[in-house]
């Protein structure tokens, strides 16, 4: 258990020298501090990978532009993708899970606090190692410094023949190490959700947030393990004379694709389920109604978890699979639309008949609903294999998955930042800046990613550092690039809001949203031990029961 700060009164903590306070952060095993470390770490990488995206878009603003060389461009999109998935979105989601799960289930910490710290530092070192390639990867003459094999690193481009020097090794090791961290965190979340719940909180009374993160953690274990195995096989190929993926010695490029997407598609749900988790907490509170169809929401999540393990090869419709295999992955891919649709309908029904307050967190979640609807429908288009023979590897698919990751996940994340910032910092954010952020960002998002679909339909493949004029792509690419600057401005307003509010914000109090889950029953920020006394709950909304003793939830559930 975390006891480092427990023994010291707050005033004494604040008066200690900076070095020893920093030392506390480095050696902490407190789930809240680790959560915040995860989040800050992810925000730093968000800025880095965001700048990479801006350079990519500046290069593509007009045909035959030469803002960066093809070599640099290829490194940029590899680093952008790898960073955003592994060192921004995963860590920030793990951060929120770490911070919130013990608070929501009335526990004093995660099940394994030391494993928790270990996992964070593995992830952190993985990210640092990836970027150390900029300094350390110059191997042989002509070799690039940063990885340039794309974020899914298809064989045989990763073999020694085509990737000389060490940049690919940095990519492999960075993901291998952070993968151990991810698996550790997943084990911890599962153990915490299953074993650490407070008295009265049966699984059927566990907040949806915790349920969704529990399924996410299960998917992490199932998905990251094959990736880890594949990374080790690739290392064996590169240094120990193995031929798993070495096509020049009879290896199989397609096997790498299967390994990668067996990881890669569940990974999408690893990222999106926590986003659903945020929406499932925020939408009810700002609609002033309980979540509609709690048990169906849990069931749909479990269904998504299962089905997501059997859809991976829809990333491979152009690889030349048999028609039977193509048909299988079409039906499984389309099937996943059903539980996902159920979720959207349940959020809709939660708002239906409510009293919706348009605070910043809710604005982001409402935008998420609209955008995720579109992302889901473009997903169905690509799920139809023949349509995907056009759309796959084109800018349409780039637009689609950015619609999922930015329009879906990042919007929910922004909602989560504003919703839980008062709890984590004890200060209220600026609603004006929050709304400004929302409107600037949503304009930028739609300029960029709505218009990005079109060049894909007009035949523009992804991952090209430049393109020919006269293909009808110029105007769309120009608009797409303009949108990026709006998004960047929105991010700056967001970070400015967080920093300003942390130092100057008004005190938030323990329950600024009149919410219903246990984290709002303790101080903001919560003390190291979370709860002075372990709570006892009787329903899914323990604070509703407290606030409405005449009309408690447990009478109806």
């Amino acid at each position: 258990m975390s006891t480092d700060a427990l023994a010291l009164p707050r005033t004494e903590l604040a008066s200690r020298p900076v070095v020893s306070r920093l030392h506390d952060w480095v050696t902490t095993v407190d789930h809240k501090r680790l959560g915040i470390l995860y989040i800050i770490y992810a925000l730093v990488f968000l800025l880095i990978a965001g700048v990479e995206a801006m350079i990519i878009r500046i290069q593509l603003i007009r045909p035959h532009n030469d803002f960066v060389s093809p070599q640099v461009f290829n490194r940029l999109f590899t680093m952008h993708g790898t960073t955003m998935i592994f060192f921004v979105v995963m860590p920030v989601l793990f951060g929120f899970a770490n911070y919130l799960i013990p608070l929501m289930i009335g526990a004093r910490d995660m099940a394994f606090p030391r494993l928790n710290a270990f996992s964070f530092w593995m992830t952190a070192f993985g990210g640092l190692l990836l970027y150390f390639s900029l300094l350390g990867a110059n191997g042989l003459y002509g070799a690039g410094n940063a990885p340039d094999v794309g974020w899914f690193a298809y064989a045989p481009l990763t073999s020694q023949t085509f990737s000389v020097g060490h940049s690919t090794d940095f990519w492999i090791l960075a993901l291998l190490i952070s993968g151990f961290g991810s698996i550790g965190t997943a084990v911890n979340i599962i153990a915490t959700a299953l074993c650490m719940r407070c008295p009265g909180m049966t699984l059927a009374k566990m907040p949806l947030f915790v349920w969704l993160n529990l399924i996410m953690a299960g998917l992490v274990i199932l998905a990251v393990s094959p990736l880890t195995a594949a990374q080790i096989m690739l290392l064996v190929d590169r240094y120990l004379g193995g031929h798993f993926f070495d096509t020049q010695a009879g290896g199989s490029a397609v096997i790498w694709m299967h390994f990668f997407w067996v990881f890669g598609h569940p990974e999408v749900y690893v990222l999106v389920l926590p986003a659903f988790a945020f929406a499932s907490e925020i939408i009810p509170v700002f609609s002033r109604k309980p979540i509609f169809g709690y048990s169906v929401m849990v069931g749909a999540t479990v269904a998504i978890g299962f089905i997501s393990m059997s859809v991976w090869a829809h990333h491979m419709f152009t690889v030349g699979m048999s028609s039977a295999a193509n048909n299988f992955f079409v039906i499984s891919t389309m099937a996943i639309a059903v539980p996902t649709g159920i979720k959207i309908f349940n959020w809709l029904a939660t708002m239906w008949g409510g009293k919706i307050e348009f605070k910043t967190p809710m604005l982001f979640c409402i935008a998420f609903l609209f955008q995720f609807l579109i992302a889901g429908l473009t997903g169905i288009m690509q799920g139809a294999a023949p349509f995907d023979w056009h759309l796959g590897s084109s800018y349409f698919v780039v637009a689609h998955f950015h619609y999922v990751i930015v329009g879906g996940i990042l919007f929910c994340l922004f909602g989560a930042f504003y919703y839980w910032f008062p709890k984590m910092s004890g200060k209220m954010y600026s609603e004006t800046l929050g709304k400004l952020h929302f409107w600037i960002f949503i304009i930028g998002f739609h300029l960029t990613f709505d218009f990005m679909h079109i060049p894909g339909l007009l035949g523009m493949p992804r991952r090209i550092y430049t393109y020919e004029p006269g293909r009808g792509w110029d105007t769309w690419n120009f608009i797409v690039t303009i949108g990026v600057f709006f998004q960047a401005a929105g991010i700056l307003v967001f970070l400015g809001n967080l920093i300003w509010s942390y130092f100057r914000g008004k005190a938030a109090g323990s329950d600024p949203w009149d919410a219903w889950t246990l984290e709002w029953s303790t101080n903001s920020p919560p003390p190291a031990y979370n709860f002075a006394a372990i709570p006892i709950v009787k329903s899914r909304r323990p604070l509703w029961d407290l606030k409405h003793p005449a009309d408690p939830d447990w009478k109806y559930e």
Binding site: N327, L373, W389, H390, S393
Partner: protein, 349 residues
Amino acid sequence: MRSRGPSNRLVGVSQLVVLIGGAGTAFADTAQTWSPTNIFAPASTPAKSIFGLSLFILAVTGAIFLVVFSLLLYSVVRFRKRKNDDGREPPQVYGSNQVELAWTIIPILIVVALFMATARVIAVVQRTSPPGNAIAVTAIGHQFWWEYRYPDLGVVTANELHLPVSDPAYPTPTFIQLLSADTDHSFWVPRLGGKTDLIPNHPNAMWMDPQETGVYLGQCAQYCGTQHAKMLLRVYVQSKDDFDSWIRQQRQPAFVNEAVSEGQQLFETTACINCHTVSGTVANGRFGPDLTHLMSRDTIAAGAASNTPENLRLWIRNPNAIKPGSLMPAMQLSEQQLNAVTAYLETLR
């Protein structure tokens, strides 16, 4: 053409696809003016099948979008907290099994319909076997250019694929075997069909029956290394006569011209021949494009530059000026040697 007709169960769906596909033809005619690589301007049977399917899917997803978007918009506007709110909590509703059942079953039915329409097009495109009069082509992806071999016709060329036009009444389709010499690539000429990857150790195939003459553009669609962006595809669809005369011309051995023997000798005594073939000479390299009929092509460097004497000279002197990162080395020739080699290459018609 089809080796396997649609089963009875799929007939209803297929009729719908045909209906929508027919309505979209007018649209397709204008679509190609927007972009020479527009997927909505199909010109061959596989591309048209996909086009019909895509319109059906767009119609279904468009309808879903309108319904759910309207419901979302309605609930956000209708159930917003009013200024004169009484401060009381709204009625607490926990769920409804009937409603849940409805929005589970309706999507399942939609998914089944979409799947059946999709399975039919997969069958049309994937389960077609070559008829006796089909043209066989082997396409080999290289970093960063395309090699085309016509095994039955004895022709080898690069970067510009020539095909005969196919009359829908008497189809002469082309079946392309797809191989890779190095990394993954993908063959994508949107107006002629969907993309199929070229993967080392994993032979693939695709077919097309282009129904209008003209030049069809595309490019490599699977990241293959530094110059993935300039691995462009050009498909020349010609009338039967034009195609036959092109084939006859390509089967000729290299043109010999005494006037450029200095350049030829230079070519044959430098590293050029390690990678390039000129048939009938000692040059028999396979790493780079076959140059036997270089001047019959409109472009060089896999479509990255037009085939002019200036571009050719620049390409030999400094390939990075046209295509940085290409595997063609700068040949380090003197001005005089450069002129001689360029003059020789210009005679390879």
